[in-house]
Symmetry: D2
Subunit: 131 residues, 4 copies
């Protein structure tokens, strides 16, 4: 299935008094991973929204294994693990060199501009299938 | 001029590796102060937006005098210092008991849903004048 | 088991271009729920940290069922569902009146100031047991 | 004086219901600009902190001129405009191609690990003087 990598450097304000990246910022990084993975298949999420198609997170699961610190050089691997008619699932692995920092999974549902479930756009499905 | 007070407790994720509230969260607190000040005059900012009226920050100035820490009991005083035809100015004082933590000023401009400057709604101007 | 409630009003900056609270802010609200639940048993998390005891999130799971919007009046119910020697588990239900917005679960591990696993403080365990 | 450039892409969660980057995220971008400017002179802010030297923002001023949107390609120019014995000042210009989005200024003070004012490290002063 389609996979991609981005680099992440935890920002100062993303780190907490323990000196480590706060756990609530990982879902933000996952979203960045999804955006860039989509872009790599030739699709802009911003264009989706301009056409009235939205992808809403309906499930999030994160396992935190090691801390990440301010200014660390991290790599986030994002993979599409399943794509159905209205939902798409991703898996994530966050690494600092060989050290596994965290893993995660999300499920997104496709919504129209009224917030009702709708079919994932064909060009998203076909871009994934062709990978 | 119209003034109001809210209480603030810095959240854990709002504090940085120095153990103090990050400077970028103060503008967020100022916005909360404005929302509640507006509400105290009987106006909901959410209703404004539903009517297509937006208030955009065009200037922000903050002086940080002392640190605020996680779980501190802070008081934010918000005051409308000037109201014109399209702009409104606020001043802020953030305190922990008698200690002055920070002061700030903002200027907001009224925009319509296309992002063009427009007149501040009459009921905002009159609610301020009557205080 | 010990339970508590707090009220939440999504802040403007917590809402995204879809007009709804961004999914990454839910873990922040859950943390606020834990802090207040702890406080209700007479324990300050800030004091824990001052004594060199830290609670780190090692697992997070959220199911998003309905959107929350700016300035909504939400209630977050937080419950301790399990407490062991080094880990503590919480469950969350976020509601807008009778509507269930989201549910969540977290597992926290107790760490010392070097980041090594350590026993949960006795007074935390006993405060929970006595509820 | 020393200057540097970084690229910025507003994240989805940094944008608000108006569809534009929230004003509170600009100070976060300015901090990123300072970190990379420092790095370009061969200094890591993280190392500073590990040696017990902290730079705290004591003044922030931002003028917002145009909106920035999700996924825009922005450039942030950061310049050191003044360096004294304990304080350092920066100016910022945020651009989308030729369009000026915002300008800003900050003043930072050097603090030791007890939070008391202290002299800026010699190697910071000399790295700036030599540019």
């Amino acid at each position: 299935m389609t996979t991609g990598q981005i680099t992440i450097k935890p920002r100062y304000c993303e780190c907490d008094p323990m000196g480590v990246a706060h756990h609530s910022v990982y879902p933000v990084w996952f979203e960045m991973g999804r955006t860039e993975l989509l872009r790599s298949t030739g699709i802009s999420y911003r264009e989706f929204e301009e056409e009235g198609v939205f992808l809403a997170v309906v499930r999030l699961d994160v396992r935190y294994k090691q801390s990440a610190r301010y200014d660390d050089d991290l790599v986030l691997e994002t993979e599409i693990t399943s794509i159905g008619r209205v939902k798409i699932e991703h898996a994530y692995r966050l690494l600092r060199e060989e050290v596994l920092i965290a893993t995660g999974h999300t499920t997104l549902a496709c919504l129209n501009s009224e917030g009702a479930a709708c079919l994932l756009p064909d060009r998203l499905r076909s871009s994934v299938d062709s990978c």
